[in-house]
């Protein structure tokens, strides 16, 4: 059976708001689409594995972010190489911030990022919390945000989407997340992928086509339950 290898970055330190649901969604959908999957976990100090088809990273507390920041610099060349050759990646919250140039904490310390996104993040007093809906290349994406860092995209950095409800990257513009090639960053936790299967399948299709060629197809799955979950989430107050 054709197999997709998923790398989950720092699952102990960076996984706070149900981010593990993103990995589960990918493995289940791969299974339902007729593919096998293997999830590899990268912990600080681990050797970066070969032939990775998809990379996932989650959010963490400030303490978790500080723990992994140095290690992230170590694996940055591997990640950049994968990003350049079109490997799909999804980074949520804390790791999204560190995929930018830098994160300035509430104490004024600077944590260096790896600069895959032309962006920087500054911790602010007000936490941006609540249900959020954004318009993206994959239609409306629905989730929940909870972050004190505010991210500013620079120059021509493309966002992941634009907010319809909620704050997104910051309180000054409507951008949410970032996209460079097939690398996506977003503040939408609450497990972004289960309620947004169009986007989930884009990541899967990209990984499958890259590995097994353009003729690879995905099955049509019954998403009636997903549509109802989307409808009720979208109708909830902020």
């Amino acid at each position: 059976m054709k197999k997709i290898r998923i790398l989950n970055l720092y699952p102990d330190e960076m996984n706070i708001y149900g981010d593990s649901g993103n990995v589960l969604t990918l493995t289940r959908r791969l299974q339902w689409h007729g593919y096998d999957s293997e999830v590899l976990f990268l912990h600080p100090g681990d050797t970066f594995p070969e032939s990775i088809d998809l990379v996932i990273g989650g959010g963490g507390q400030d303490s978790g972010q500080q723990k992994i920041a140095k290690d992230l610099q170590r694996i940055a060349p591997n990640l950049r190489k994968l990003a350049d050759n079109g490997t799909p990646m999804l980074m949520i919250c804390g790791l999204y911030q560190l995929f930018g140039h830098r994160f300035v904490t509430d104490k004024g310390d600077e944590i260096k990022g790896i600069g895959i996104f032309d962006a920087e993040t500054i911790a602010k007093d007000k936490r941006l919390i609540g249900n959020i809906v954004i318009e993206t290349d994959f239609g409306r994406v629905i989730g929940y945000e909870n972050h004190s860092g505010q991210t500013y995209l620079k120059n021509k950095q493309k966002p992941f989407g634009f907010t319809i409800k909620g704050e997104g990257n910051n309180t000054d513009d409507r951008s949410e997340g970032a996209r460079t090639n097939n690398v996506f960053g977003s503040y939408l936790h609450g497990s972004l992928l289960p309620k947004n299967p169009v986007f989930a399948d884009y990541l899967i299709k990209t990984a499958v086509e890259k590995k097994y060629g353009k003729k690879s197809t995905l099955k049509k799955l019954d998403e009636s339950l997903t549509h109802r979950a989307r409808e009720s989430a979208e109708a909830r107050p902020r």
Binding site: P11, I16, G18, S20, Q61, I129, G190, T226, S232, R236
Partner: protein, 412 residues
């Protein structure tokens, strides 16, 4: 003055009389609680506060103490002022021996600015309603302040690394309770829910005042002073017995003269708090309601799941439930795989159903409206036993449907 304010009694649990008294007599709370000969106990932590507070209160009463306690849900300072108003005599005297107060960490740090507790019992630090508190580390810092305010003794769950670290700055002597190493895997800390499970105990057994050695569905075995105490309890569930080990330790400190047999007999007689494992008989059905509010609590409840029972899950996302339902993705639902879930309900019923879909747990029915869901389930089910897992406001709605508003704050 107290006479005037005592006329404002009535709206029990309401904050209004508290507000009026606070305006007229700013040191009311301090002056009233100062009278208590055995002082004030604060019970804090993410999970199990209500049940543990009820167990301590009930057991202390059986051991002869007159106990002042706050009804669950009014655990903010003004709610406690109201509790005191409802209990103070016309000449401003409290007849009670001790106050046992359930306070969540955010309210507790406000309360300790006014009143220093004699005892603090800290149960655990878990991720809970993160949309309210921010992050787990912030919660741990709040609990640390509460621990530091204790004047006589602190009782800590030795298996929670956040608490063990927080207790290092305690001014009062620290006493520990914990679970046997053989049970460690059943009581994961919040970090262990996600990380590789480290079964190594944080504190050595001989440092524990009370240890939960083993348990069956309704009978815990506690190891105290090198002797085992086995007793069938009214309250069920391993996670409750872990917290009751803390209650046991606390009572030993409050009444040093009580012997362990007396204490365990008293603890065993206390009934569950409403909606926390409470059993309701409705039209010949045996229905148990279990409040779930975070991954650790839900996971521990599922460990005790009996496959023969029907399952009803109700997830709301109102403020009291936590607006963010992402925590459902951190709960392992595989225990429900063989029986499936008979009904999913609540404002976030479809998020829950989607969660089950990805776990490949069959969900028979999804009806968002809780009343309609209960109507439908009760009209169609033939199974005599049902377990309901519900978030806070969903639990209130279900309880109201099954038994009406009576006994709110007390279990029958």
């Amino acid at each position: 003055m107290i006479r005037q304010t005592s006329r404002l009694r009535g709206g029990s649990g309401s904050a209004l009389p508290g507000l009026v008294v606070e305006r007229m007599y700013p040191r009311f709370l301090e002056d009233m609680l100062k009278q208590l000969p055995d002082g004030v106990v604060i019970v804090t932590g993410t999970n199990g506060k209500t049940t543990t507070t009820k167990v301590i209160t009930g057991a202390l009463e059986l051991l002869g103490k007159k106990v002042l306690t706050n009804p669950s849900g009014s655990n903010f300072t003004r709610g406690i002022v109201s509790t005191v108003i409802n209990n103070v005599s016309i000449v401003g005297k409290l007849e009670h021996d001790i106050a046992v107060l359930e306070l969540d960490e955010a309210y507790a740090v406000q309360f300790i600015k006014r009143v220093k507790p004699r005892y603090v019992l800290a149960l655990n630090v878990m991720r809970d309603q993160l949309d309210r508190f921010g992050e787990v580390d912030a919660t741990a810092r709040l609990i640390q302040q509460v621990i530091a305010s204790a004047t006589k003794s602190v009782v800590i769950n030795a298996d929670d690394p956040h608490l063990v670290a927080a207790a290092k700055t305690s001014n009062a002597p620290v006493f520990y309770y914990g679970v046997d190493v053989s049970l460690r895997a059943q009581f994961p800390t919040d970090d262990e829910l996600l990380a590789k499970l480290d079964k190594k105990p944080i504190k050595q057994s001989n440092e524990l005042l009370v240890k939960l050695k083993a348990y069956s569905h309704n009978t815990p075995t506690f190891l105290v002073d090198k002797k085992a105490y086995v007793e069938p309890f009214q309250i069920q569930g391993g996670y409750n017995y872990q917290n009751i080990a803390g209650a046991f330790a606390l009572i030993k400190l409050v009444i040093p003269s009580a012997d362990n047999d007396e204490i365990i007999e008293a603890l065993a007689k206390v009934k569950p708090a409403f909606g926390r494992g409470e059993i309701i008989h409705h039209n010949g059905k045996h229905i148990q309601i279990i409040l779930v509010k975070n991954p650790a609590g839900f996971r521990q409840a599922l460990i005790a799941h009996d496959e023969k029972e029907d399952v009803f899950i109700a997830i709301n996302d109102d403020y009291a439930d936590g607006r963010d339902v992402s925590w459902l993705w951190d709960v392992d639902f595989s225990a429900l795989k063989s029986h499936g879930v008979d009904m999913v309900s609540g404002t976030r019923a479809y998020d829950m159903a989607l969660r089950l879909r990805y776990e490949e747990v069959p969900a028979l029915h999804v009806i968002r409206n809780i009343t309609s869901a209960l109507d439908h389930y009760l009209a169609n089910s033939k199974q005599p036993r049902l377990k309901i897992y519900a978030t806070y406001t969903a639990m209130l709605a279900i309880r109201n449907y099954l038994i009406g508003n009576r006994d709110l704050g007390e279990s029958s």
